[in-house]
Amino acid sequence: MAIRTRTFAPARSRFLHGPAFTRRLHWIYVAFGLAFLVFVGAMALLEQLGLPRRWIGFLFLVGPIVFYAGIGILSRTTDPTEYYVAGRRVPALYNGMATGADWMSAASFIGMAGTLYLSGYGGLAYILGWTGGFCLVALLIAPYLRKFGQYTIPDFLAARYDGNLVRVIAVVAAIACSFLYVVAQIYGVGLITSRITGVAFEVGVFLGLGGILVCSFLGGMRAVTWTQVAQYIVLLVAYLVPVAWLSIKQHATPVPQATYGYQLQKVIASEKRLQADPAERRVIAVFQARADALDARLADIPAALAAERNVALRRIAELKAANAPQGDIQAAERELARVPRDADAARDEWTRERDANLERARPLAGMPAHAQQFAGDPHGDPAARRAFDDSRHNFIALVFCLMVGTASLPHVLTRFYTTPSVAEARASVAWSLLFIVLLYLTAPALAVLVKVEVFDALVGTRFDQLPAWINNWAHVDPSLLQVDDVNGDGILQLGEMKINGDIVVLATPEIASLPYVISGLVAAGGLAAALSTADGLLLTIANALSHDLWFRIVDPKAPATKRVTVSKVLLLMVALGAAYVTAQKPGDILLLVSWAFSIAASAFFPALVLGVFWKRANRWGAAAAMVGGLGLTLYYALVNQPGVREAFGVTSPIQLWWGIQPIAAGLFGVPFGFALLVAVSLVTPPPSRAAREMVDEVRLP
């Protein structure tokens, strides 16, 4: 390990480390926390003094970013150990906070409570999977990576598996999963920026990109680490404050995490009441009738299409004959233009519409009973039994993929290179999960509190007396929230609300009747979550290219500062590329994120784990496992995932194995990778002496 000692020694002498360093960090971040509270207080004061909401939102985006930029500039560096692994002097506690921010993305901050609201127990797969994965990180990977003590995950695999074959495969897999993930983060940044400041989405994307680059460009991992700690503080405060407030409003305790079981009982009681409510049933009947009407049209498309066109034409003729105002005639002409142009378009459009109506023609607006574990019924008829089994298998499979994926995502694992010692790496996984859990314990509570609010306070309100936040959000973005009086009784039923999960977190401050300043705080928190994750990911991609491909393979004699310069240039290029892809608004973003987990799990997990725990594992086995596991996962996706199928022109029928949804393809890819690694290693020669010595080395503390 000559390289490590050579670069480590000067770093130690030039920079502060040890207990004095930790003490200074405590002071800096306590000061930061206080400054942030003063900032929020000042905003609240300005709101009272009449500063317009737009300005408050704008200041909440810009203020923290200026601060992150300040950290980025102070942490600028050209030293490789500083740039790639923050000088390996990040104390366990602070690495825990940085990992928490690195880990918790826009999906955790904004999406998770919404998913839990919409799918109840089913959404807990994300909570279990995204926390349980850290057990695997701690027990199987982090301490050994730290002991190895290089810079990237491909570094580790290349040293263990004798050379560049495995390194190149690892680089490709690391870039694939990180790129999918970073596009989703930049999308989140663009969404928040455009919603709060009112600029166009594409402009928001590039504004956010500026926020990402100021942290990572000058100081690499060093700057990203120290901004991530600050971002963790911001996102935690922004998440907990509105929830605590909502909870006080509902049942007078500021810690709903400990007591929301009783709120859950209320939800269960309300679900029974709403399912039996005649008004809800009438809403369902309206949607069912709409779906039936569309079905009738789908039965004979050409006739229905002709009839629809005739109706529109006749209407235009009547209006013209009656000398109606020009505006009415134009509206009727637009109506005609909206008639599908041919039978294929009509089939697509009407099928989509029918499915949307069927979706809403279900009890509780299509949501499952909140506390019910799995769908179906194990003691019911065969269909109910099958639904139960399917739901149970898919829940377990998703938990498995999310756990193993967590333990394989390169941007998270790289963080454990940055601690001063193996013991601190172990402790820092515990801190990481503790800091993550603070938010993950809160999300299910928030989902239940919002459900109580909707079921008991909102449903049954007259349409002319709805709270202001409903109209505000329906006005901002109808895809987030839509209410209309479907059955015409002037009263809101649950079935008449169509909501997107993201609104749960975004609207909580207004639901709890908090001042606008708290909405700004939530936006700042969401932005911190997305920025911090995007920073870690971009760094991982750029370092895989610059360190693993360029330095390790193309030009191993490059001097240290040149390596860092190349990394920075690549970082800029990757960031612009990711922003460009994001601005095209590619398909289903959340799907891409979930895919990143299955891809990372099947590419890395078997090679990482057996690399430490089985000395006989060799390069051929590892290469086969990575390519084979990844290949199987991608194959299953290609054949079964709607959206991906169309993109690649797959027309074969969907064939699910044991009913497992393609989102959990890693369930097949990971065991297949393990099997290949063992089988291929055993029929090929044992690994080199250097590789076996490396295993001995990393097993020691």
Binding site: L124, L128, G132, C135, R392, L441, L700
Partner: protein, 101 residues
């Protein structure tokens, strides 16, 4: 912690390292078993473990709170026990008076 290269290390020291690794593997296996029970076994039987628990159905509570707190505790136990394991290795690989040549 300074531990000399594993090659040409005295027999006692090599044995100490092997014991350290065995203890590591045992601890890892035990904690993984607990992880598996909480994460998968309880989840598999979620529908049956439906009894009320401070207001929550028990398996809902495990997935939303109990389980993830157990995960934190498992990692904390690992960090502490491994720190002890490391100290034992340091003690055992220090040459004892009667063993020194």
């Amino acid at each position: 912690m300074s531990i000399p290269d594993s090659h040409g290390a005295p027999e006692a020291e090599r044995a100490a390292r092997a014991r350290h690794w065995r203890r590591t593997v045992r601890l890892t296996a035990a904690l993984l078993l607990a992880w598996f029970v909480v994460g998968f076994v309880v989840t598999w039987f979620a529908r049956d473990l439906d009894f009320p628990f401070f207001g929550w159905p028990f398996s809902f509570w495990v997935a939303a709170q109990g389980g993830i707190v157990v995960f934190v505790v498992l990692i904390a136990i690992y960090a502490r026990r491994m720190a002890r394991n490391d100290r034992r290795l340091a003690d055992e690989s220090r040459p004892r008076p009667e063993a020194s040549h």
